[in-house]
């Protein structure tokens, strides 16, 4: 278990919180706050659009500095994260007694699964805060965003169920105010729906956590504890029915948050009405809280329940993919379409998780990061179209590629990532999920693969209706192309999209050990869960695959000399199937050593 | 005190009879007065009937050797409270008869009577059960024994119940202040006014000539 002198995880959680407090203490720009209150709270009428506020006011500077500092710390964390095979458990663990009477600790830790979610959060927040043009009270906006960032970080990093729950719930508050304060015409309805729906789901989470803690206490020497690792160790000895019920509580709560069909109906309203920055964060990160919770609390803590309920969740995911695709196709509004498309993407994540194969779960984790990058970028670009044109209905758009060619290119790249074009990140995640699912649950994968077709249908149709075709509406004739600033903002996301698509190895190397560790738990706890043996089986792979990463020349030489004759042998008998001991075992044995 | 006196001089039987007599008279006064309060239409009559009840209560107190309380009952209740009631009635001039038959909610009256009867039945049923006095013995001092009732009561109040007693004093002060504040006819300050009132006030000021505005 790796630790450093620097309490880096605490810094990551508390830095944005401190930033939020500083924003709160700044003198308010009184005119903007009063105009906002007058227009949006007291009357239901839409705000008379206060002009764009320079984001680099005092609050903006604080926000920028804090968000970038946070990003720097997270980059440091990612670099410092050990890549060797011992990295399956939690790293950088920080543990302090908080409410000792109830066994509540302030304990944080990071493993391969949460590492990249934290990284994605740190990357997406500055982009969401400073990318879209901000209208309204910048001080409050920055404060809420930083609070949201702190809460998201806390959720991803917490190793204590109480801390997790608190952080998980705190995210709702900034989420609500971001939608209600800076949203579209029906923002109050949307924000209320979002809050109440997810809050109702959280009731199940709360009950499940309390039940788990109380039931586990007698097996922990009578001490209540909220510690994730301890609970995960004890939970296996609980009665079977209890574990299943606790898992169901988790599953319902997270299914609402994720959201899994049929708990999704808050999503389109919320994402459509949210401001651009809100949509980016909501879709990019808040989704992942649910998915992450499902993995960390659901599968990790109560694997028996997860194994028992896996068919249900797999079916919901597969149904969600097909159903979500069908619905998405018919949407008439670009932002709503993107929102619905998210339902399909997150269903993939769930599908991968509950396939219980290392490819599936790893793919699911990758898909979480992918979806953050892709959806963040897509909502940002949709926001640009909105700012330029003031409408997102397909019937009002069309032929925009003529006046904004660069925008169209960027948009197409992101759309292709969403469709799952190989070479971009979407494909790697989607493929891993499907191949992992196919290995254990064939027919679910066969159904889910339909999304390969439908994603192309709805995404390309949307793209066609926005960017292609003749310019029928004169308003689309002279739209300003994407500006350098906006391009610079979206560039990190594009780099991530391409990098993860072309060279996902650094990512996968860090995620896989943790996933193996997780699946080991499932396998031990629930032998009937059909977890494919990841470690013992090494398939026939030629020797040259052992050469990884080295200079191309060296690798090429090795392969050429090592296996020159195998491919063109001609005599079909020469099957190198026995050469099984070398290749995947280096990574595979990592999990086994735990 | 009277009962005790009778018991001392004339023996058990007389004391018994006199206690019963006092009880019966007190009970009659109480019930008459209470019925009067509930049923009479004129508030002034009600107040007077309340006085009868209070006297009846005082009688029952005497019957149970709570002499000091009986005195206080008459002085405070009959002397102060009821007078206050009457004073308010007269002050406000609301001594007109109440239309008892008029009811905004249909079910209120039958339900009220029913509830009263049921409550009564339940209390009586409870009183038929003997468990009600099975508490732990008191710490605050015996009622019987040497010394007068006043002395014992005073001892209890100024020793064991000192803190509650002081708090009642504070309570009374607060009540007095509250009564003064509530019944004062005050001019609202600007901060207490609603937005609408403020605007009215401002517009009124704007249109008054400057010299008059200064005076106000």
């Amino acid at each position: 278990m790796k630790t450093t002198g620097l309490p880096i995880l605490n810094i990551i959680v508390f830095l944005p919180l401190a930033g939020a407090i500083i924003c709160l203490l700044l003198p308010s720009a009184s005119w903007s706050s009063t105009s906002l209150r007058r227009s949006s709270w007291s009357t239901g009428r839409p705000a008379p659009a206060p002009g764009p506020v320079s984001t680099l006011g005092p609050a903006g500077i604080v926000g920028l500095v804090v968000a970038l500092l946070e990003l720097a710390f997270v980059i440091f964390l990612v670099i410092d994260y050990p890549t060797s095979g011992h990295a399956a458990g939690f790293q950088f663990v920080s543990r302090h007694s908080w409410i000792g009477a109830f066994g509540i600790d302030w304990s944080l830790g990071v493993d391969g699964i949460s590492l990249f979610l934290v990284a994605m959060t740190a990357l997406l927040f500055p982009i969401a805060m400073f990318g879209p043009t901000l209208r309204g009270n910048s001080r409050a906006f920055m404060g809420w965003m930083l609070l949201l960032e702190a809460a998201c970080m806390g959720t991803f990093l917490s190793l204590d169920l109480f801390v997790f729950f608190v952080m998980f719930e705190i995210t709702l508050v900034p989420g609500y105010f971001l939608v209600a304060g800076w949203g579209g015409a029906r923002r109050n309805y949307a924000a209320m729906k979002f809050f109440i729906y997810t809050f109702a789901g959280s009731a199940f989470l709360f009950v499940a956590i309390i039940a788990l803690v109380v039931l586990a206490a007698p097996r922990n020497g009578g001490h209540q504890t909220f510690d994730l690792i301890t609970l995960a160790r004890i939970a296996g000895s609980l009665p079977h029915a209890d574990q299943v019920l606790i898992f169901c509580g988790f599953a319902v709560a997270f299914a609402v948050k994720i959201p899994l069909v049929p708990f999704h109906s808050w999503l389109p309203d919320t994402y459509t009405e949210a401001p651009t920055a809100g949509s980016m964060i909501l879709a990019g990160i808040l989704f992942k809280l649910g998915a992450y919770g499902l993995l960390r609390l659901g599968i990790y803590v109560v694997p028996v329940g997860a194994a028992d309920m896996a068919p249900v969740l797999l079916t919901l995911a597969a149904v969600g993919i097909v159903y979500g695709s069908l619905i998405t196709i018919m949407q008439k509004d670009l932002k709503r379409l993107v929102a619905y498309a998210s339902i399909v993407d997150v269903a993939f994540i769930v599908l991968g998780f509950f396939a219980f194969s290392s490819q599936g779960v790893t793919g699911g984790v990758l898909e979480m990061v992918n979806h953050g990058l892709t959806t963040g970028a897509i909502f940002f670009l949709v926001g640009i179209v909105w700012e330029r044109r003031g409408t997102l209905r397909f019937s009002d758009l069309g032929g925009l590629q003529k006046s904004m060619p660069i925008m169209a290119a960027v948009f197409l790249a992101v759309v292709m990532s969403a469709i799952g074009l190989p070479g971009l990140n979407g494909f790697v995640g989607e493929f891993l999920v499907l191949v992992g699912t196919f290995a254990t649950h064939r027919w679910w994968a066969v159904v889910a693969t339909v999304a390969v077709i439908t994603a192309a249908v709805y995404m390309l149709w949307a793209y066609q209706r926005v960017f292609h075709g003749p310019v029928l509406n004169p308003a689309n004739d002279a739209v300003a192309d994407i500006s350098w600033r906006e391009l610079a903002v979206v560039a990190p996301l594009l780099v991530g999209i391409v990098f993860l698509g072309v060279y996902p190895r650094p990512f996968l190397e860090r995620v896989t050990p943790s996933v193996n560790y997780l699946l080991d738990r499932v396998e031990q706890a629930a032998p009937n869960a059909h977890v494919p043996k990841t470690h013992n089986v090494t398939y026939s792979l030629p020797a040259n695959q052992d050469v990884r990463g080295g200079p191309p020349g060296a690798a090429g030489a090795a392969s050429a000399s090592g296996s020159g004759g195998a491919g063109s042998g001609g005599s079909s008998g020469s099957v190198p199937s026995a050469a099984g001991s070398t290749p995947g075992s280096a990574t595979a044995s990592a999990g086994g050593s735990k | 005190m009277l009962a005790a006196l009778l018991a001392d001089s004339s023996g058990q039987a007389l004391a018994h009879a006199s206690a019963w007599a006092v009880f019966a008279v007190g009970a009659a006064m109480i019930l008459t007065g209470a019925l009067g309060v509930v049923l009479l239409r004129n508030p002034v009559h009600c107040a007077l009937m309340l006085v009868i009840t209070l006297f009846g209560i005082a009688l029952e107190f005497i019957d149970q050797s709570a002499d000091f309380l009986a005195a206080v009952q008459i002085i405070v209740y009959a002397g102060a409270v009821v007078i206050l009631f009457l004073f308010v009635i007269m002050f406000l001039g609301v001594d007109r008869k109440e239309a008892i038959s008029a009811e905004p909610t249909r079910f209120q009256r039958p339900l009220a009577v029913l509830l009263g009867v049921v409550a009564l039945v339940e209390i009586l049923a409870l009183s038929r059960i003997d468990h009600w006095s099975a508490g732990t013995p008191s710490q605050s001092g015996a009622l019987s024994g040497p010394g007068s009732n006043v002395q014992k009561l005073g001892q209890a109040i100024y020793t064991g119940y000192l803190l509650p007693f002081e708090m009642t004093a504070a309570l009374l002060v607060i009540a007095v202040v509250a009564a003064v504040v509530l019944s004062r006819r005050h001019q609202p300050s600007a901060s207490e006014m609603s937005e609408l009132d403020q605007e009215e006030l401002l517009s009124a000021r704007r249109f008054t000539p400057p010299d008059q505005g200064d005076q106000s």
Partner: protein, 101 residues
Amino acid sequence: MSVPSAWYLVLAAVLFGLGATGLLIRRNVLVMFMCIELMLNAVNLTFVTFSRDLNDIGGQVNVFFVLVVAAAEVVVGLAIIVAMFRRRAAATADDIHILKG
């Protein structure tokens, strides 16, 4: 020696019931206050009865406090009534129902 305490208790119960019923059926605020006084007195009577029954001075002390509280209550209540009557001439409790849900 003297009247059994059950009689006093029954009497107090009847008085309490009368007071409660009166509170529920009368609309004049002042009379409602008087009914509350009736109920308080019923309670006082039980206190004194139990005090004698249990040979405990505490019951009588409580009566003393109840008296004080009742007095304070009457003072404040009547002040409220006065303030209320100033604002509107109507006298009954039913005229005040702006807290209607």
